[in-house]
């Protein structure tokens, strides 16, 4: 039998030691609980140097090729409502897209809500640059250029919004306060005023051309061409003409072979004014993320086969127009690159401008290397011609349009056309020259006041369908601050 006696002193000692440790832990716990976000710097650590500025500007460009910005959401407001395309693909595939062809969309439809969101995301990224880069201590010329690039990209996004929706909330800086987070709609004129101001400043600060390392960034010519376009939408013909006139002196030229211009080897050529740069980065498919070509390529051979050219577009080309072969691809034919387009594909016609030869890498997506042409010198000439004609400068107008016709293998238009006849000729030339590129046809028809006539068979309602409804969810979230467009 064993008896154990425990003295109080001894028994408390270890307890005190552990309690001491615990108390020590408590006193240092505020430090223990200080944990910084992992792999994500705080925003207060950003916009500190030239690198940060470069990164932020790169993001603005990257947004341009994202699915939400340039694929179906964009097609829904800019491509499908026109008369150049049918839905494409198989009959049941993406059936909801027919709502945009036949003007059946409502305030709750999804795609135009998503383009609204995507364009504003683009605007926010640009606002971040425009707001924060001027305060960075860095090379002043580069700083001004970066801001100019962001102003150009912001203008492009607002231009798309104002064309699709009319006056929209005008965010010109990153929103912070509750008030700034929920702006009411500005008027259409206020949006255009911002566009003109942004593009004028950008044109002043952007270079006419870049060295080989920076090709693809926004140039003076891009800002001025967009300015000319914006002024034309506003019917400020003199200002439009002045802007495009400046571009004529910047050294652009028409590429002789129309088809070649839309191949990867033709990217950023002498006619290119602004293209969204898309590249396959081997091993980084998240960066090689343009679906623009994939969504339109022959189905099922290469892609998804949407936005197929209509017979109406096919018939719009004059006989002998070389652009037709560069615009419309037919199944059962063989491309100059040697790809035979299978008769088993689901549609008769496809967008040739989105064609990427089978031999090009598909390491990430089909067509991820195909740049998206936003502005070409041919359009500059067309804008110039249209403004000149509206101002009665017929000879100047004829000169521009005939450069384009001759390149297409067509006879130049004769002199002596009436202003109206020449106007119609320029509009027709716009359609066939720019068909199936970025998406101007519907907006042109509205701008030209012809939408109700041309699109009547598709269900266009005058006084309503000139713009899309403001997404209902946005109106609700704004607490009624956003107002709906008429008729929706």
């Amino acid at each position: 039998m064993k008896s154990i006696t425990i003295t109080k002193r001894r028994s408390w000692l270890p307890a005190l030691a552990v309690l001491g440790l615990a108390l020590g832990a408590i006193s240092s716990c505020s430090k223990f609980l200080e944990v910084a976000p992992q792999g994500q710097p705080l925003t207060t650590q950003f916009f500190q140097n030239q690198n940060d500025a470069s990164y932020a500007v790169a993001s603005c460009y990257a947004k341009m090729r994202e699915y939400n910005t340039v694929a179906f959401n964009w097609f829904s407001v800019a491509v499908y409502p026109g008369d150049d395309v049918d839905k494409g693909s198989t009959p049941g595939d993406g059936d909801y897209l027919n709502d945009y062809i036949y003007f059946r969309f409502t305030a709750t439809s999804g795609d135009h809500e998503r383009i609204w969101t995507a364009e504003y995301q683009q605007i926010n990224l640009c606002n971040q640059v425009i707001q924060n880069v001027p305060g960075i201590s860095m090379d002043a010329t580069l700083r001004a250029r970066y801001v100019g690039e962001a102003q150009f990209l912001r203008a492009l996004a607002y231009f798309n919004l104002v064309r699709a929706f009319g006056g929209v909330p005008l965010h010109t800086k990153p929103a912070e306060t509750a008030e700034e987070l929920n702006l009411a709609r500005a008027t259409r004129e206020e949006v255009y005023a911002l566009l003109i101001s942004d593009l004028t400043t950008a044109a002043a600060n952007l270079p006419a051309a870049y060295g080989t390392a920076d090709i693809g960034r926004a140039t003076k010519g891009a800002a001025l061409t967009l300015l000319a376009k914006v002024q034309l939408y506003q019917k400020n013909y003199a200002a439009s003409l002045a802007a495009s006139n400046q571009v004529l002196t910047l050294g652009y030229s028409l590429v002789p072979n129309f088809y070649e211009m839309f191949r990867i080897r033709g990217e950023n050529g002498p006619e290119s004014v602004f293209e969204v740069q898309c590249t396959t980065l081997p091993g980084n498919c998240d960066a090689s993320n343009s679906y623009w070509a994939l969504s339109q390529a022959p189905r099922p051979q290469f892609g998804w086969g949407f936005c197929t050219p209509t017979a109406d577009l096919e018939n719009a080309f004059e006989p002998g127009d070389q652009r037709k072969a560069g615009t419309i691809m037919y199944r059962g034919t063989t491309t100059p690159e040697g790809d035979s387009i299978s008769l088993q594909n689901s549609n008769e016609r496809y967008n040739m401008k989105a064609y990427v030869p089978n031999s090009v890498t598909k390491a990430c997506l089909y067509g991820a290397d195909q740049n998206i042409r936003i502005l070409r010198y041919a359009e500059t000439l067309l804008l110039n011609a249209e403004a000149a004609n509206e101002l009665g400068q017929t000879a100047k107008a004829l000169d521009g349009i005939n450069q384009i016709r001759v390149r297409a293998g067509l006879a130049p238009l004769p002199g002596g056309l009436s202003q109206e006849a020449l106007r119609q000729a320029i509009w027709k030339e716009r359609r066939v020259e720019l068909a199936l590129e970025y998406g101007d046809r519907f907006f042109d028809l509205v701008r030209q006041g012809r939408a109700a006539t041309v699109l009547r068979s598709r269900g266009f309602v005058a006084g309503k369908n000139e713009v899309f409804p403001i997404p209902l969810s946005q109106i609700q979230l704004s607490g009624g601050k956003l107002t709906q467009n008429p008729g929706y």
């Binding site: 028994s11 976000p37 994500q40 439809s109 598909k362």
Partner: protein, 1059 residues
């Protein structure tokens, strides 16, 4: 001879053991012999020496059982042989007790030798000790809602995961199982309690597991008991980690005595049940031709009706198999004990090429260093291997990096478009007219089966070319040292470590399988993932009785915890195929490598906690606890939260006026209130951060060169977020009747989640990418319900005995309010971006949302008279214009169903006749709907079912429930057509066992030998038309059946041997 002296302590030894367990057990069952060292020894008392032996129901000696002279402080404990010696007056009464057994009182009546045999411990016995946070407690003194399931009730089920075996056994705990090898079940305690991190906290032998970790590393044979702390008061000792309930896992610990060796093993097969009959080639061709006719496609495209038919599900599945073997050893001396086990599990899933393998090893030791100091250790280690399946979460790598896996796992399938890489999804939509192989030996080409069929892949090719293996290790361990001092105090310090590491490789061989399955690059992708959670806890316990009427246990403690996880995924092209030995990045093409490192996850928690248990005359019970937690996840000002709880109990049957009651053997009413926090939210929710992302890469120059993109594209809440809190009231009633043979327990609870972190929808125009909303303290929602647990046990005498158990629960889930009043939409389907669920005030979280249908349009006149005139044709679904504005759009959407089951129930029956035992478990859910999205995920092509074929609309008057074969256009909008009843009742587990008689076992030198046959899920009754009514999902996107793993049944034969 050991004589124990219980100074100032007159309570039963059972209580004393309980107290010590509470003091030092820390979530682990305290080995019974512990009493022999932890009780101070003192000089012998007066009286006659009494000796004897204490054995269990099998006649095995019980070391460490307690013997106390009633109403004195005199006590003793049995030695290894179960023998004791104690001095007692001739007329005294001895009280014998041992944890888990009913105490026995024996009056000496002059005898000097008393042998005692304990009756078999009864599960659910009132004398059962249940594990509570930081201690144990007698079931009869518990004031909260704690359900306890003993390991014996879980073993021999074919589940690979112990949680799966809980299905139907605990009232108010809903478990959703998947048949995929290695897949973790979803578990919800009393409904959906939060929107982020909805799984309960798992605590294994005191070690807290990180959120999202499940118990797949643990062989269920290693489990001694599982306790589910359901109400907030019980769980609140775990503070901010406990918002969704707590599951305490106690693994088996060694006990003193001879070494016990046991082997448990089973093996069997796994098959698909409730197989959905898809249309065969003839039916498919018929339907497609009808569709062509309806959509104006030239009849020259029609398919012949005599094409050979492929059953795609059959083509990719097989009869699976499972085997599991476990060997365990345990034993010890009066100073040290140990328990060791090793197991091997192999599961070949029903999907071809998919398998899962687990090796576990566990070691536990307890060592009494001195009479006052004890140290112990337990560690569970698991090694996991799997062959993964296309587009499905890896059984080992899990959902970590599933986005990356989705990208790399199937390589480049350029034309699949919106079709899922999930091979089941592919099989569900692949037409039966497609052949797996052409006569030429090439894969049947989906593109050229027929015109206009749309997008689908050849699942055979997908499966054959999928090479992905995962491997992982998990270690969960806990080491402690405990000190008894100053009579009533116990101080314990412990370190718990949970560590997990996993990796996978995926290889995509470049090949052109079909025109839509063109793989390029010979791409090797590898990923690794690590997570670790380390905790340090200190607990000081005070346990003392005052006189005969008062008993007090109090504890204070601290916890410090740090969690870190990180993941890397890299890939390279140009690795030549050559098996696992060649899957290294150095064999790839220079310049094609990419590396992604997900932002790591790091957080810390520091907590102080205290609890008091007080009982007066074993009649009036009080439990009160308080925890103060600090978490790094919140900004400094909101970092700390206080979480109190209180529970009261009244054992009415102990009242003098009830003593003579012939009705109640036991009657207790109890009530509790507790407050919990939720730490299972994303880190740094209110900190504005910079996003560096690959998709923000800019490309400039000739040649095109990438430029890093970074930006501020995320909106954070304008106000700093604070704790999400759950407050819960629980009222319970516990009763026993008929000599304790019938027990009944009822609970009513009301849990409100306040300041719930719930996305606040924001306007798109500020341009942030999280335009669905940022997380803020935005919502209040409620789970309210009742639970019942009933058990009837037969008298244990005779050849035949049985027990019947029933658990049932009703839960109502409801969103009470949101700050902005705005609903949250979720559940975006892959087609058309339709949102199928809504969480809005007054409705359950994640309710289905869409058009109400009103039959099928029969004639063009009906359409002309409806708001659908622009879009519909006869045979289409007719939608209700609920707001009567003449337009059909999302403004007409209504709530269509509830993905959260209102009823869950289980029936557990055990029968024993002589040497034969039979166990039957039935389980089910009711009052639930499923959104059968499986039926609408079609991209041009149609995966019709036979049911659709039989019921479709083919002309006026033919059907008013099922549309025509042209199931396209508006028919695919979310509508009540897709919402089905999800109720089911299932034979969950049937087991028939045969115990060999002593004559056989003794010839084998074994104690026990049992053979059994087991069937899991052999029968499920449901009206649901999909592959399984167990659908699951995240709270705001649950119950949407999208490419689920089919329901499976498992049939096993098994053996248990004990030496």
């Amino acid at each position: 001879m050991k004589v124990l002296h219980f100074a100032g302590l007159t309570r039963t030894p059972a209580r004393l053991v309980k107290g010590l367990g509470l003091a030092v057990g820390l979530g682990a069952a305290w080995p019974a012999h512990a009493a022999s060292w932890s009780i101070r020894q003192a000089p012998a008392q007066a009286g006659t020496p009494i000796t004897g032996r204490v054995v269990d129901e099998k006649g095995e000696p019980l070391p460490g059982a307690n013997v106390v002279v009633k109403n004195t402080n005199v006590g003793a404990a049995t030695n290894l042989e179960g023998q004791y010696s104690i001095n007692a007056p001739a007329g005294a009464t001895l009280v014998f007790s041992f944890v888990g057994y009913p105490a026995q009182e024996i009056t000496l009546n002059g005898r000097t030798s008393i042998d005692v045999k304990f009756a078999a411990p009864q599960s659910q016995s009132l004398n059962d000790v249940v594990v509570v946070g930081y201690g144990t407690q007698s079931k009869r003194e518990v004031t909260g809602a704690i359900a306890s399931v003993k390991g014996a009730e879980l073993v021999n089920q074919a589940s690979q995961n112990p949680v799966s075996s809980l299905q139907g056994k605990v009232a108010g705990v809903q478990i959703t199982n998947s048949g995929a090898p290695g897949a973790a079940p979803e578990i919800r305690v009393r409904g959906v309690g939060a929107l982020a991190g909805v799984s309960p906290l798992y605590v294994v032998d005191g070690t807290l597991l990180p959120q999202g970790t499940d118990l797949s590393f643990l062989n269920q044979d290693d489990i001694a008991s599982l306790e589910v702390l359901k109400d907030a008061a019980s769980a609140s000792i775990y503070g901010i980690q406990a918002a969704n309930g707590v599951v305490l896992v106690t693994t088996k610990r060694g006990t003193a005595g001879a070494t016990r060796i046991s082997y448990n093993g089973f093996g069997g097969v796994q098959t698909i049940t409730n197989r959905v009959k898809l249309a065969n080639a003839q039916q498919y061709a018929q339907l497609l031709n009808e569709k062509f006719a309806l959509t104006g496609i030239d009849p020259s495209n029609n398919l012949p009706l005599d094409l050979p038919s492929t059953d795609w599900l059959k083509e990719i599945t097989r009869t699976g198999s499972t085997q599991n073997h476990q060997l365990s050893l345990s034993g010890g001396t009066d100073r040290a004990s140990y328990s060791f086990s090793g197991s091997y599990l192999q599961q070949k899933g029903i999907l071809q090429n998919a398998d899962y393998e687990r090796i576990t090893a566990r070691l536990q030791t307890d060592f009494a260093v001195t009479d006052r100091i004890k140290v112990g250790y337990s560690a569970s280690f698991a090694n996991l291997n799997s062959h993964d399946s296309p587009g499905l979460p890896s059984g080992v790598f899990g959902n970590y990096g599933i986005g990356d896996l989705a990208n790399v796992g199937t390589g480049v399938i350029p034309n699949l478009g919106l079709l899922s890489p999930n091979v089941f999804a592919q099989a569900y939509v692949a037409p039966p007219v497609l052949q797996p192989f052409l006569p030429s030996g090439r894969y049947g080409d989906p593109a050229f089966v027929g015109a206009g069929l749309g997008s689908f892949a050849n699942p055979r090719a997908t499966l054959d070319y999928f090479v992905q293996r995962s491997q992982g290790q998990t270690l969960v361990s806990n080491a402690f040292a405990a000190l008894n001092f100053a009579k009533y105090f116990n101080l314990r310090t412990s370190v718990g470590i949970s560590y997990g590491s996993s990796r996978f490789y995926n290889y995509q061989k470049a090949d052109s399988l079909t025109s839509v399955q063109v793989y390029r690059g010979n791409t090797l992708t590898k990923g690794t993932s690590q997570n670790s959670q380390v905790q340090w806890e200190n607990v000081l316990t005070y346990d003392r009785s005052f006189g005969t009427d008062h008993h007090l246990t109090a504890l204070v403690g601290t916890t410090a915890l740090r969690f870190h996880s990180e993941q890397q995924v890299g890939s390279i092209n140009g690795v030549q195929a050559g098996g696992a030995d060649s899957y290294y990045f150095n064999l790839g093409t220079v310049g094609t490598a990419s590396l992604a490192n997900n932002p790591g996850d790091l957080f810390t928690i520091f907590s102080l906690f205290a609890r008091v248990n007080y009982a007066y005359k074993e009649r009036y019970l009080l439990t009160a606890s308080f925890r103060r937690d600090g978490s790094s996840k919140y900004i400094q000002a909101n970092r700390f939260g206080n979480f109190p709880s209180v529970g009261l109990g009244w054992v009415v049957s102990e009242e003098p006026f009830m003593k003579g009651s012939s009705v109640f053997d036991f009657l207790k009413v109890r009530g509790s209130f507790g407050l919990l926090g939720n730490n299972n939210v994303p880190n740094n929710v209110s900190t504005s951060r910079v996003t560096y992302a690959p998709y923000s890469t800019g490309f400039f120059g000739n040649p095109s060169t990438p430029v890093t993109g970074a930006n501020i594209d995320t909106q954070v809440p304008p106000s700093a977020t604070r704790w999400e809190k759950a407050q819960e009231y629980d009222a319970g009633l516990e009763m026993r009747f008929f000599q304790n043979r019938l027990s009944a327990e009822f609970d009513f609870y009301n849990r409100r989640t306040l300041d719930a972190l719930f996305p606040v929808p924001v306007l798109s125009s500020p341009g942030y990418v999280n335009s669905v909303g940022y997380l803020d303290n935005n919502a209040t929602f409620q789970n309210q319900g009742v639970e019942a647990a009933l058990r009837w046990t037969s008298a244990s005498t005779g050849d035949f005995s049985y027990s019947l158990g029933f658990t049932g629960a009703y839960n109502q889930n409801k969103l009470l309010s949101t700050l902005s009043g705005s609903p949250l939409f979720a559940g975006i389907l892959p087609l058309g971006g339709y949102r199928t669920t809504i969480s809005r005030v007054g409705a359950p979280v994640g309710a289905f949302f869409g058009y109400q249908t009103a039959g099928i349009f029969q004639t063009t006149q009906e359409i002309a008279d409806s708001p659908q005139s622009a879009t519909a044709k006869p045979g289409d679904l007719r939608f209700v214009d609920t707001n009567g504005d003449g337009l059909l759009d999302a403004r007409d959407y209504v709530v269509l169903g509830n993905p959260n089951p209102r009823f869950t129930y289980g029936l557990n029956m055990n029968f024993r006749y002589k040497l034969i035992d039979l166990q039957v478990d039935i389980q089910g859910v009711g009052g639930v709907e499923i959104f059968n999205a499986q039926r609408l995920v079609r991209v041009g092509n149609e995966s019709y079912t036979e049911d659709f074929y039989n019921n479709r609309w083919t002309g006026p008057g033919t059907s008013n429930t099922t549309p025509s074969a042209d199931l396209a256009g508006r028919n695919l909008d979310p509508s009540s057509y897709y919402v089905e009843k999800g109720d089911y009742i299932r034979l969950r587990n049937v087991q028939l066992g045969f115990n060999f008689p002593k004559s056989v076992t003794s010839s084998l030198h074994a104690q026990t030998l049992r053979l059994y046959a087991n069937a899991q899920n052999p029968l499920t009754l449901t009206k649901y038309k999909g592959f399984t009514p167990e659908v699951g999902g995240t709270p705001t996107f649950a119950g949407v059946d999208l490419n689920v793993y089919p329901l499976t049944a498992i049939y096993n034969l098994g053996i248990n041997i004990g030496f």
